[in-house]
Amino acid sequence: MPKDVIHSNEKASAPRGPFTTVSGVPVRRVYAEDDLNDIDPARDIGEAGKPPYTRGIYPDMYRGRLWTMRQFSGFGTAEDTNRRYHYLLEHGQTGLSVAFHLPTLMGYDSDHAMSAGEVGKCGVAIDSLEDMETLFDRIPLGDISVSMTTNAPAAILWSMYLAVAEKQGVPWTKLRGTIQNDILKEYMAENTYIFPPRPSMKLIVDTFEFGTRHVPQWNTISISGYHIREAGSTALQELAFTLYDGIEYVTWATRAGLAVDDFAPRLSFFFNAHNDLFEEIAKYRAARKIWYRVMTERFGAKSPRSATLRFHTQTAGCSLTAQQPYNNVVRTTIQGLAAVLGGTQSLHTNSLDETLALPTEHAARIALRTQQIIAHESGVPNTVDPLGGSYFLERLTADMEKGCWEYFSRLDAMGGMVAAIEQGFPQREIQEAAYTYQKAVERKEKIIVGVNAFVSEDDPPIEILRIDEAVAERQTARLAALRARRDNARVRSTLDTLRTAAARNTDNLMPVILDCVRAYSTLGEICDELRAVYGVYREPAF
């Protein structure tokens, strides 16, 4: 048995405090009726399924249908990941979520020099339609919803998916799923951008328009706070920047001539679930309420579906520790519970080994089981918004909302989010919060079990998933064979058409990209054409 050496356990007996949330927001001794003075229960809290949707977007919530259990997954080659998908589906997962490797997300093929060492490491290697066909082999796309984390090359990867559906004989009208397609948070947090902001926004508006016309059940964007939070933001910053990104997308799309009620029902959101239970629940409740007001008041949406915020949640990778990794199961449970108490529509629970590598099959199964236990054993899904009316939670929800409107005013004054990003505003706010948190941890104002307190020595190592370089060899060989076999004249002509259309900058590029993909042009080749027209984005100096 490992021997526990307890460091800094004086925290347990010494006077405790300061009392703050994980985001540093002060928390008072107790909350009472007085704290609800500025809250009108009918106006601000209301009923689930009715405006302003604070308590949930459906009257029955999980009594009608549980959330979708959707584990983000991808590694190695398309064959490797296809096997993992079948495994997860056999164990009761109810939706798929594709993790692509970094070369794909950055618009490089697996045989590009920049891809050295990266092939299949952070996700699955997808270079062409051929790989996408393998990825969804024996997975009927008409029967399952699929989410894809595709940001800069979203239009291309979505085109590959649509082409696989054609091959499977599934009409696009039957397809359900989501493309992340959210470039704004890349510039401020995750940094997997390719093109500059303005042409990137054009591509996104193209996908909105195309989806509205041809793939009506598809969520054409997942406006994501997850990565903003992982980069170190507070809960409030995550909420404010994400919802304001939503405002920016709606603004660009309506400016391009799209009618708000045509595309807004297909906008979806993606939030983080960190450790601070009540702060997180308040964040989700405030999100729904604010989005309702934004869509109806700012954009004049008439359809209720345009104003109901649907969201996916992932537990916080950044909260997990490499030390005593089994403790991560407990953290993930608390975080998953927050998401469910906050009314999420789908959930990814992280695996215990994710600070070390991509998850093993065993760790991935425990993560899935964690949500199944919340769903079937905790009793929490039996009633809608079970914590609604709690003095503390309603106060936090109202404060979260107020803080958000304040950020919105500042962002409006800067001329919107693209302009704010160009000025480096959200980036600085997030970096400042990340540094403040790190310092608080190092001063032990924030305790992380196993890291700055309750440290064990000789903790046994755990088994981890290793992706060896043979994956890169297999993938590049497969790619070379494809390049030799395909109709290269057709490839060239579709790519030329794309370049001309991109330079003209008037047409919707989706049909043209679809033609490139159907001809088995690779993702890197397609991105090269777009890079030639749009240029590439470089981060401002730090």
């Binding site: 997300l105 790190q438 730090f542």
Partner: protein
């Protein structure tokens, strides 16, 4: 007066996760070091070139993408070729234990895994930076 320690903070490979790199860069500045941050997505050649041009005393690499076993040894090798053997290279990020041992054997001076404190890293740099 002795010149301050000069540190290159570099992000090799395609990985965009820069929370750690930016935190450590700021902690180095707060400690009085001169910090040169390369920005994202540098090739091994670009990193070594920056180390040479900027005449740094330590190179800190941040890798969270899993590509460390390809990228880090290449940087060490190129630094040797450029005569920078006396500039220690340290690595932070998602580096499993077995890889950490292998990287040390290949010439990486120290590995800082998740949970490392900025204070410990600053102290390590103070004690191990190349002396001009």
């Amino acid at each position: 007066m002795e010149r301050p320690i000069r540190v290159l903070v570099a992000k090799p490979g395609l990985d965009g996760h820069d929370r750690g790199a930016k935190i450590i860069a700021r902690a180095f500045r707060d400690a009085g070091f001169e910090v040169i941050y390369t920005g994202l997505r540098q090739t091994a050649e670009q990193v070594v070139n920056a180390a040479l041009q900027e005449d740094v005393d330590v190179v800190g690499l941040s890798v969270l993408s899993g590509a460390h076993m390809t990228l880090c040894p290449r940087i060490v090798e190129l630094m040797k070729k450029e005569g920078l053997d006396d500039v220690p290279v340290i690595v932070g990020g998602i580096i499993p234990e077995a890889d950490a041992a292998a990287l040390k054997a290949l010439g990486i001076r120290e590995i800082f895994q998740p949970g490392a404190s900025t204070e410990d890293i600053v102290q390590f740099v103070r004690a191990n930076a190349r002396r001009a």
